[in-house]
Symmetry: C2
Subunit: 656 residues, 2 copies
């Protein structure tokens, strides 16, 4: 039994990571590389040592990612900045890092580095897939990028809505009585913003106290602030992935596209219920609950905002825009919109595109006139988080046939054939989040997240602690491995006790019973321990997982049929969300959660909702792209499909 | 000595009235009319008896106006609705009223009424100039007007920004999962508003509780409310004339253009200083004063808003838009904008066009998302009130050469030759508002407002009380009459004591001294009363008036020169503001406050700021017209003119 631990993030909370499929596939195809194939299971740890440009002591941070994620992404998505201007296509040759130990040398590395440099371990970070634990030295930033790499292989040209302009103005006299505002705006020739009242209230004093040398802060069409002196270097925005369970905040420097700090925590709405339906029900039972849920969401966002500002050393008043990606219910609750119609048929949203409001409207104490933009939603159960995910994965741009799955209590599925895009939602239930599972738990310290069955049971556990339970990825692994070794049959039933020693001699003694129910013991604290102290997988747990995965596979089966596609036509499967990122692609294939494809086509896409939120903060064009998705994607309602139940039963079994 | 009193309005506060010059001149030119000429002095009282359509007891109200104001205007500007669709051009023949006593019969009256009706006193209200006290019976409204008559002869086609649409929507089902908002907006085909968050928060509940039968409330581009059932008849807005001294509120039914209620009160900022400079100084002395002044303005507006809603029987939640016309300082203070640069050279505004904000931003408790629009300003001393006045008087549309004067501590002057428009400000000082005058007082109860000298002294006093002092119009009258009878010479000096009995035998004994200073006794409470108990006009008072009027006449002299015009070219003088409305045209000519023209060319334009505010609420086109004035009018700064002082001295004397 092996155990690994993370050193990043607060105990029990894990940021999500992503695999840049485009670059990985590019790398694997490139001649001269020796990237070892991996089987898509387990985790690798990357320890970054960031050198400071001013010669201060280098900072060290360790992060843990699924194998195959590039070094560049592993850094970038954890707020560690590496030079880049090409967006990770191996062309700018700027993302230079030094890696300890033998590392494959790409064609681009050979063009970029001298032989001695290559021997010292210098590589381009965007072309190194992390397939083992790595120690990486990151040199200080030297470039001011015009683009940033965000999402899954998306290069975003920096054109943020937040703009600053430093101006030095002539002082007024009787021959030049222009208004303060006209004087300021006349000096800014490329933008024509409208001034917020907030600015007019401050403008006369700030102008005169600063000798008419000020920085104008513009968000979209609005002049929201005028600051004394030149503050143009302080230009920040904040991206939120507002999940039902976990909320992630990223503080972004929009001048460079660099994430300054990332933090996550449990949504404070948790006490009102684990999933959206429970929370909607709570608002229907007591009219005051909506206000409480709104407040809980606001407190969550505010606490994270304060944390990332503190960690990034950024004055919250310098954060001028916020993007929020959440499902339809989370978005409605954060805005104080009654979610009841989302929870009952015919599942209607109040609006698909919430208006731009002030960040203070959801309780955020950033710049008082900071804008908050929420992602549009396709339907009550294909919300803004999925639209953000589609943006981050380029579902509307990639010409390949791709399947996007965000696994959770509600599972969203998107299929694109490179032309048409279909989306739907499938009710998977709580199994993937550890709910309704005997030893189920969230992916927190003590959770078994990787299971491998050979002659023994190999477990990977979150945190430096003894196993306490089984999280979603561990559950999928356990079932997949039990099917592989033959202890579970194709229908999902444990094989008879008397056959077990023959099928899997080393593991047969772990197959036992608690009362009437058959269980498989994954972890036993000591020889002879009581079964109540063990982590087990029960027959009922297997059934729960079967129902969950059948709901999902029925969803993508019907969408693929709608487009006239076979399973094998799918060129890439993107597993999104924090669960998707941790899921073993091999196990996902084995239990039938995804089509039966080579594991390399199955990609952990990471926290794509959060990535999409970053993208719209960095680029107004991407923001327009998010809105355009509302027109480009067809929502397919499954709940009134007559063939759903038939297909569902077809999908219950396993491939043995 | 005569005394008159008013029955309208709270004691000590008077709404302002106006003279519709266009129609009056039209009437006088019309054949078959017998309007008696009047000399432009004194007041007339109109008693309106308004019949109710439902047969309730008729309501009676008396208003007092300068002679010559039409019956229609006298009613309309005091919130008494009379049918009209043509805008008062005598063509719609709808504004039928019955007037007691002999009244001139116009050509239009003859076409409209039968001989018995004419004998009963039926007349068209827009064609009767009130040259004597009148009793007027107003029949119930029968038409739903498409236009309203506002300002000075301005007919405004009703196209308010506030729109309501009642819709009955199909309920959603699984085959029609449109969002609540899309469902609503799809049913409104002529408008494409953006929903406020406020609406989204209420929309799901209101739609379902009202069985999907609701009224959408749209202001400009914003959907600000959705109301259960059909509320389309409740569509109100509020116009404010935010004066330094007096604030006037008009509650408007924007469906009909009818004023529902009018109220006025003293600006609660009065304790901080009588004029704008004192109040600006107060903010410079103590940084907390700006907040206090802002609050005082807000309380004034809020109190008036509550009063007109109460009097009009209108729910404040049904008031969706507010227009505010005030000078640059009053507007800045109401919005909480630092006024300091307005008070010191080079007299710079923060912005010429304040942004549209919420009415709640200035402390108004109307609909929570009601919009507040402020008029743009041309300069620190030609503010939004003057732009509103220009709009109300059609300064940019009338092809005649016209002079617009708003008399006050700061006096604004506008000249148009029908093509170019020039505007300036002249510092008249406080004389016209009773300041720096020995027995000066505001136009409140006890103030002498009209003075006529014949064999005796005839006074008109505000309120049913003994004279206590002299307001601006009384001051102008007193000086003009003393010049006329010869007791003041052309230089403004009282003639020697020994000449007085010869020049004005009946009045000579009133010319006496207090200490060294010569005074004229206007009112003596009883024979032998102490001079301290009398109302007198002193030599110094005359000097104050001379300085004030010279500042003003220098202003229009320079503007006329700029346009290459002679005094006699001026076809109309519009006297605006509450003071201008009460000023006797004859006296204004005699003291040289206005060019020497026939009195009929001098028109009391009334509270044109308030009228302009009403216009922008009734018509989006007029609102665009107000903005266009910023481009069309050239502001002329007099304070750096080298020829100002020379001209000023030329203007000090009187025409004898």
């Amino acid at each position: 039994m092996t155990s690994s631990s993370t050193t990043d993030g607060p105990a029990g909370e894990r940021p999500s990571f992503s695999l840049d499929d485009v670059r990985r596939e590019g790398l694997l195809a490139a001649p001269g590389t020796e990237a070892p194939a991996h089987d898509g299971t387990g985790r690798v740890e990357l320890t970054f040592t960031v050198e400071d440009v001013d010669g201060a002591a280098p900072a060290t941070r360790a992060v843990r990612v699924p194998p195959g994620v590039t070094v560049f992404d592993s850094a970038s998505w954890n707020g560690i900045a590496i030079d880049s201007t090409c967006g990770g296509h191996g062309t700018c040759h700027k993302c230079r890092v030094r890696i300890d130990g033998p590392t494959p040398i790409s064609r681009h590395d050979q063009r970029t580095f001298t032989q001695p440099q290559l021997e010292q371990g210098w590589r381009l970070a965007c072309l190194v897939g992390a397939t083992r634990d790595l120690a990486v030295v990151v040199p200080p930033l030297t470039t001011r990028p015009k683009a940033a790499t965000v999402g899954v292989g998306r290069q975003v040209i920096l054109r943020p809505a937040v703009q600053k302009r430093y101006v030095e103005l002539a002082e007024p006299d009787l021959a030049d009585q222009r208004t303060d505002l006209a004087r300021l705006l006349d000096a800014i020739d490329d933008l024509e913003p409208v001034a917020d009242l907030h600015v007019l209230r401050r403008l006369p004093k700030v102008l005169r106290e600063a000798d008419f040398k000020v920085t104008a802060v513009i968000v979209d069409e609005a002049l929201i602030e005028v600051e004394a002196g030149d503050t143009s270097a302080q230009r920040y925005a904040m991206a939120f992935d507002l999940g039902t369970t976990t909320v992630v905040a990223t503080l972004l420097d929009v001048s460079t596209g660099t994430p300054v700090a990332v933090a996550s925590m449990l949504n404070r709405q948790q006490p009102f219920g684990a999933d959206v339906i429970t929370r909607i029900s709570a608002t229907m039972m007591d009219p005051e609950t909506l206000g409480r849920l709104q407040q809980a969401a606001g407190e969550t966002l505010a606490q994270l905002a304060a944390q990332v500002c503190r960690e990034g050393g950024v004055d919250p008043e310098h954060v001028y825009e916020v993007a929020l990606a959440g499902n339809a219910t989370m978005t409605a609750l954060a805005l104080g919109i009654d979610p009841e119609p989302l929870g009952v048929a015919p599942f209607v949203m109040t609006a698909d595109q919430p208006p731009t409001v002030l960040a203070s409207d959801v309780g955020l104490a950033l710049h008082p006139r900071a804008r908050l933009i929420c992602f549009p939603a396709l339907g009550a159960y294909v919300g803004g988080d999925i639209v953000a995910g589609m943006l981050a994965t380029g579902m509307d741009r990639d010409k390949r046939t791709r399947l996007f799955i965000d696994v959770g209590t509600n599972c969203e599925i998107v299929v694109s054939d490179g032309d048409r895009i279909l989306a739907t939602a499938a009710p998977a239930g709580p199994a993937f989040e550890g709910g309704a599972i005997r030893c189920g738990m969230r992916a927190a310290d003590g959770a078994i997240e990787v299971v491998r069955l050979t002659d023994t049971v190999e477990l990977t556990v979150i945190g430096d602690v003894e196993p306490r339970g089984l999280c979603g990825s561990g559950l999928v692994d356990a079932v997949a491995e039990l099917v592989k070794v033959g202890l579970l049959d194709a229908t999902g039933r444990f094989i008879p006790d008397d056959m077990a020693p023959e099928v899997a001699p080393a593991l047969a003694d772990r197959l036992t019973r608690i009362g009437e129910e058959r269980v498989f013991v994954l972890y036993r604290p000591h020889e002879g321990a009581d079964l109540a102290d063990c982590v087990v997988l029960s027959q009922r747990d297997v059934r729960e997982l079967q129902f969950a995965k059948a709901a999902i596979s029925t969803g993508w089966t019907l969408l693929l049929e709608e487009l006239g596609l076979e399973h094998a036509d799918v060129q890439q499967v993107l597993m999104a969300g924090s669960f998707g990122s941790y899921l073993s692609p091999a196990s996902a294939v084995r239990i039938g959660l995804v089509p039966q494809l080579p594991v390399l086509r199955i990609v952990s896409a990471g926290n794509v909702a959060g990535e999409g939120a970053k993208m719209v903060l960095l680029s107004q064009r991407e923001r327009a792209g998010a809105t355009a998705l509302l027109e480009e994607v067809t929502y397919v309602e499954l709940s009134d499909r007559t063939d759903f139940n038939d297909r569902f039963v077809d999908q219950l079994g396993f491939r043995t």
